[in-house]
């Protein structure tokens, strides 16, 4: 209805605060409602994510932010609403198919494969790019081998990029929290995604580490043109990095706009920021 016109029209031109040109709508969430038994985690929320932007989702704990990412990943199926991706309505899709369409993510409670080394974890991110069959792999012949080497090279570039060379062969179970988060990011990047979903990538980090992480995020966004959706509680980070911010509270959307607009939104200040941030 009304919303449809609104979201389909501006497929071009959107200029960010610092003057960067942002593309058209890539992911469009329309009237999403998600319930768990009696709990309504998301109540009729609509917003979009544009090509190439950094989109932040903020809100108090339990607002439904992570659930929203899960909807995008296809892990939660909303009771109502539609997900439009690249201009087409997405039919019911399994999470792994979503991933293969180029949507990668990290998780709030680190979900690394604890029994595998860092390298293997990151290589797992590249499943989308690998296609050799069981038989070829069993014999380690032909495609299996070349493919492995090619992808290994790509993964090594990401490892270099994130500066985790020294822990390449360490089992991830032994890593400290911050490094785990970085490995998770590496795994997501390995997929060379169009859309990268980050669920609190900087939780539990100190300033220095947050700066490192910010650098990676900005670089990815800039160099690969990857679109990023980001959940974060550190307002400094959110305000500095993101192009647009959605604010959720108790499953509802209470604000959406540039960091500047959001910062001055009364509802947002009441529900989330408390005192207006410096």
């Amino acid at each position: 209805m009304m919303l449809e016109n609104q979201t389909l029209a501006p497929s071009d031109g959107y200029v960010t605060a610092d003057g960067r040109q942002i593309g058209g709508v890539m992911m469009d969430l329309r009237n999403i409602t998600l319930r768990f038994g009696g709990v309504e985690a998301i109540k009729d929320i609509s917003f979009d994510i544009r090509e190439g932007e950094i989109r932040a989702i903020i809100g108090p704990n339990g607002a439904g932010k992570s659930s929203m990412l899960n909807v995008i990943s296809g892990f939660y199926v909303p009771q109502e609403g539609e997900v439009w991706f690249n201009g087409a309505k997405r039919p019911p899709t399994k999470p792994y198919q979503v991933a293969r369409q180029g949507i990668a993510r990290t998780f709030q409670n680190i979900a690394l494969f604890e029994g595998m080394s860092v390298l293997d974890n990151v290589m797992t991110g590249r499943l989308r790019q690998m296609s050799s069959g069981l038989f070829s792999q069993a014999l380690w012949w032909g495609k299996a081998q070349t493919e492995e080497v090619e992808n290994r090279a790509a993964v090594e570039r990401i490892i270099d990029f994130l500066e985790i060379q020294s822990i390449r062969k360490t089992p991830v179970g032994r890593l400290p929290y911050g490094l785990k988060k970085r490995v998770e990011l590496a795994r997501a990047l390995a997929a060379e995604p169009h859309l990268l979903l980050l669920d609190e990538p900087m939780a539990g980090m100190n300033v220095e580490e947050k700066e490192d992480m910010s650098r990676f995020i900005l670089d990815v966004n800039d160099e690969f043109g990857t679109t990023i959706a980001l959940i974060e509680h550190d307002m400094g980070v959110v305000m500095d990095l993101s192009d647009r911010v959605v604010v959720m509270d108790y499953g509802r959307k209470i604000g959406d706009g540039t960091p500047e607009e959001v910062r001055n939104n009364e509802a947002v200040i009441d529900a989330y920021l408390g005192v207006s941030h410096d």
Binding site: S73, G74, F75, K94, P95, Y96, V98, A99, R100, A104, R105, F107, A111, L112, F113, E114, G115, M116, D120, M123, T124, G125, R126, L127, R128, M130, S132, L134, Q137, A138, L139, W140, A144, Q145, E147, E148, V149, R152, A153, E156, R187, A191
Partner: protein, 358 residues
């Protein structure tokens, strides 16, 4: 500094993903292979073959198979006995229906048939997880045993329901049947062990293996990352059953020669193979060998010590055997929950750092 990797530089990714990145390991591997292929066949006796080596090799294959499913893909299965039975009966039917085809091909085909059956029984794993799945695979175990017991077509309508392996030759030498010499039995098993270990190693270092491990470590995250759980789980079931089927075929045709399904492939077999991989080390091919060796050799060793050396009554020794095996299992788990393979790994790590402990 016996054991070092310093100075062991890799210049290509191929070199870096080798099976044995360290030189010493590689040497050890080739020495083992040479002894196994070049020395043992000439010195092996009936006793060593039937009491120790042949069962060890066959169990090692089964353990590798189960380790792929349980250790690498995280799907605990208690249906190994049943799947071994499928391999055995498939082999029997093939041997008796096509006597002119080479037995080695029959054994491979038995693996293939078992893979199909295993995949079918793996379907519930898409919904059922953890111990629930383990218990669910018991359904396969009991059903298959019942089936082979009940449907007389499987045992060619023989009066007692037993199956007997007829004599079959490879390159002019009998490898099945009572007249097959010990070395021939040993070599056939060794051939399949080498083949299976190689395949297992290749599969577990590539993308297939990584999707298995991802499913094992955190299945939901794996799916969101892009692992197709259906494909990963079913391929693990298929590959695992393939190995287990080969083990079953060898167990029947080469090792025992005559088999009654409930006795040879009962639930204890499923447990035995599971013990092997846990004691040896989940998710480790070396561990599959270590576990198989441990559980094949230990009872025999205890028997020799108790009965032959100490001269105790056999029943006391048998009871003590249970007590000791049980106590040892617990002891190992307490000392090192991740199996013999991990103990080995830790020892290497210590050696590497020697003489500086940290």
């Amino acid at each position: 500094m016996f054991y070092r990797e310093a100075g062991d530089f890799k210049t290509s990714y191929v070199a870096d993903s080798q099976t044995f990145p360290l030189k010493l390991d590689k040497v050890g591997f080739w020495v083992t292979m040479m002894v196994a292929w070049g020395v043992i066949p000439f010195v092996i006796t009936d006793y060593w073959a039937s009491a120790l080596l042949v069962p060890f090799l066959i169990y090692a294959i089964a353990a590798i198979g189960l380790n792929i499913l349980t250790g690498y893909c995280g799907q605990v299965s208690l249906g190994t006995g049943g799947f071994m039975a499928v391999g055995a009966y498939a082999c029997y039917k093939l041997m008796t229906s096509f006597p002119d085809v080479n037995i080695l091909i029959h054994i491979l085909l038995s693996g293939g048939i078992t893979a199909a059956v295993g995949t079918a029984f793996g379907l519930p794993s898409l919904r059922i997880k953890g111990f629930y799945l383990a218990v669910a695979t018991l359904a396969a175990q009991f059903f298959l045993v019942w089936l082979f017991n009940k449907v007389s077509w499987f045992y060619n309508y023989s009066a007692s329901g037993q199956i007997n392996a007829p004599e079959r030759l490879v390159a002019g030498f009998a490898v099945t049947g009572p007249a097959s010499p010990a070395w021939a039995q040993y070599l056939v098993c060794l051939f399949f062990v080498t083949l299976c270990a190689l395949i297992a190693r290749n599969l577990t270092r590539g993308s297939v293996g990584r999707s298995w491990m991802a499913i094992r470590d955190m299945d939901i995250a794996a799916e969101i990352i892009g692992v197709n759980p259906l494909r990963a789980k079913l391929s693990a079931f298929a590959v695992s059953s393939f190995f287990v089927g080969i083990a079953g075929a060898l167990f029947f045709a080469v090792y025992l020669g005559a088999v009654e399904v409930g006795e040879a492939f009962g639930i204890q077999k499923s447990f035995l193979v599971l013990f092997m991989i846990i004691i040896g080390g989940l998710g480790s091919i070396f561990g599959s060998f270590a576990g198989a060796a441990f559980l094949v050799l230990l009872p025999v060793a205890l028997k020799i010590v108790g009965v032959d050396w100490l001269g105790w009554p056999t029943d006391l020794v048998a009871h003590f055997q249970l007590v000791i095996v049980g106590a040892l299992i617990m002891f190992f788990l307490i000392k090192e929950p991740h199996g013999l393979a991990h103990i080995w790994g830790l020892a290497k790590e210590k050696l590497r750092r020697w003489p500086f402990p940290y």
